[in-house]
């Protein structure tokens, strides 16, 4: 299994380690619910070094990215980041990733851990086929480390370690600075539904930054959180997980990513998506909450009037909401909030209701924070 530079620290902290897409990652340090609440109420650290970073630069970087990605990046200013999608010719999602614009013709794509190699090969293929000659594509995943600090106290703790004012860093923007003595990139973003930052540094310095953050946040009750809490937090925030809600056979319109598709520009997969937009979708991702006792899990059938109309993609007990919720594909005519459905849990049918996403929305504590779902 691959190990991140922080693996030794996870072991020393007594984390329970699991295989996450070939990576030995901490699923929890104490327990999932405690780590979940700590993120909502205080502040936590996540090891996200396993994620991919692919740098795209050169005179043709922007036209290349416009060809490769679904979203129009022409207006992406220096210091801004955007969520976007890589889709195949059929419009199937290869990855959901973030694009950082470092200025001029320098961009960075931050990819899912499980897709980084596939993404990299795909991008090289596009460059080849579309005849781009002046764009460099470099997979820097192994030399770039990443730590997420998330929660309402994240800004205060990080502020003590950086020489710039973080209050003015708005949601989905970033800057190049340092954490302690370590050169770092900070973006105001995350995967929890809370305020927080994704922090990038040289992978060899990840341990130092981790230690600095833990030390700086000690009085504020900072603690590390594992992939278990990361999953319950993202689900409450209505965020999707590649491999659960998305794969190469799922299109942006079928999930909640239609807004990331700009049909006005020419990109790989555009024709297929334009056709699907005209002809309509055959399934739609919705959020649901359980009405009967029971927890819906990935793969459980979704029914209405006795007929199977879809399948659960993610489901858990939501610690903040104190009830089971989930995401599921359903027939398009069952997508409206308020629709009654049932979930087949083992041998019984449990009632559930389609509800709007996100399940949980943080109270706006400052003008810079806007939920983008």
């Amino acid at each position: 299994m691959n190990k991140t530079p922080l693996f030794g620290r996870h072991e020393a902290l007594g984390a329970r380690i699991i295989d996450f897409g070939g990576w030995a990652m901490p699923v929890q340090y104490s327990n999932v619910i405690e780590e979940h609440h700590a993120t909502r109420e205080r502040v936590t650290l996540f090891d996200t070094c396993h994620m991919g970073e692919i740098d795209v630069s050169g005179p043709e970087a922007l036209p290349f990215l416009q060809k490769a990605l679904t979203r129009d990046l022409a207006a992406l200013e220096t210091g801004q980041m955007r969520l976007s999608l890589l889709v195949n010719e059929k419009g199937g999602i290869l990855d959901d990733l973030t694009v950082y614009h470092f200025g001029g013709d320098r961009y960075r794509l931050v990819t899912n851990a499980s897709t980084r190699e596939k993404d990299y090969r795909w991008l090289l293929g596009i460059r080849e086929q579309a005849g781009f000659r002046q764009v460099d594509i470099i997979d820097r995943s192994d030399v770039v480390g990443k730590i997420d600090i998330q929660g309402p106290r994240a800004e205060g703790i990080l502020q003590g370690l950086v020489p710039v004012l973080l209050k003015s860093l708005t949601y989905y923007t970033f800057l190049e600075t340092s954490v302690g003595s370590v050169p770092a990139v900070l973006s105001r973003s995350g995967y929890t539904g809370e305020d927080g930052f994704e922090v990038y540094m040289a992978s060899g310095e990840a341990g130092l930054v981790w230690d600095l953050l833990l030390e700086a946040g000690r009085a504020q009750g900072i603690r590390p959180a594992g992939l278990g809490a990361r999953d319950t937090l993202r689900l409450e925030a209505g965020m999707m997980l590649y491999g659960n809600e998305m794969c190469e056979n799922v299109t942006p319109y079928e999930v909640v990513y239609g807004w990331l598709v700009n049909l006005e520009k020419d990109f790989i997969g555009r024709d297929a998506l334009a056709r699907q937009k005209r002809e309509g979708i055959r399934r739609k991702l919705v959020g649901f909450q359980m009405e009967d006792r029971g927890i819906a899990r990935h793969g459980y059938p979704v029914c209405r009037d006795g007929a199977v109309i879809g399948e659960v993609t993610s489901g858990t007990f939501a610690p903040t909401l104190q009830r089971p919720v989930g995401l599921a594909f359903v027939a398009p005519d069952c997508r409206e909030p308020g629709t009654s459905i049932t979930i087949r849990i083992r041998q019984s049918e449990a009632r559930a209701t389609v509800v709007p996403l996100p399940f949980y929305r943080k109270e706006k504590k400052n003008e810079f924070y806007n939920t983008f779902i």
């Binding site: 999932v32 278990g228 319950t232 029971g294 899990r297 007990f317 610690p319 089971p324």
Partner: protein
């Protein structure tokens, strides 16, 4: 660290405990080690009272945030009582696996089945090996 395994009961390889009462019933639960492995228990599906179960048959389900686990009957018999408090307080299993977190009572068909289960010492040895 899990609490010590009480010596007044027997244990299955799947981490259930069985405590025989004077009336031919056995109270059944999961061990403290098992609840530690499962972590936060958020849902328990109890069997129906009156149901007949066979030894080693799944007869209840315990769910944590991340996992779904079958609970196996340590003995054969009829389910004569269930711990309905677990429906609203599943965390009782985390708090007191050997006591208030009991799951069901089974009226034994064949009391000799208990002899085939482990005593506390053997069970403690098994989990020691399992966790190394």
């Amino acid at each position: 660290m899990a609490k010590p395994n009480p010596t007044d009961r027997r244990y299955s390889r799947e981490h259930e405990w069985a405590l025989a009462g004077p009336d031919g019933t056995v109270t059944v639960g999961i061990t403290d080690y098992a609840q530690e492995m499962l972590t936060d228990i958020v849902f328990v599906e109890l069997p129906q009272t009156g149901r007949s179960v066979r030894q080693s048959e799944p007869f209840a389900v315990v769910e944590s945030v991340k996992s779904v686990s079958d609970i196996y009957a340590p003995v054969s018999g009829e389910v004569v009582a269930v711990n309905a408090e677990l429906e609203t307080q599943p965390e009782l299993i985390n708090q007191d696996a050997f006591g208030d977190g009991w799951i069901a009572r089974i009226k034994m068909d064949n009391p000799s089945e208990l002899d085939g289960l482990m005593d506390a010492e053997a069970y403690s040895e098994m989990i020691l090996q399992e966790s190394h």
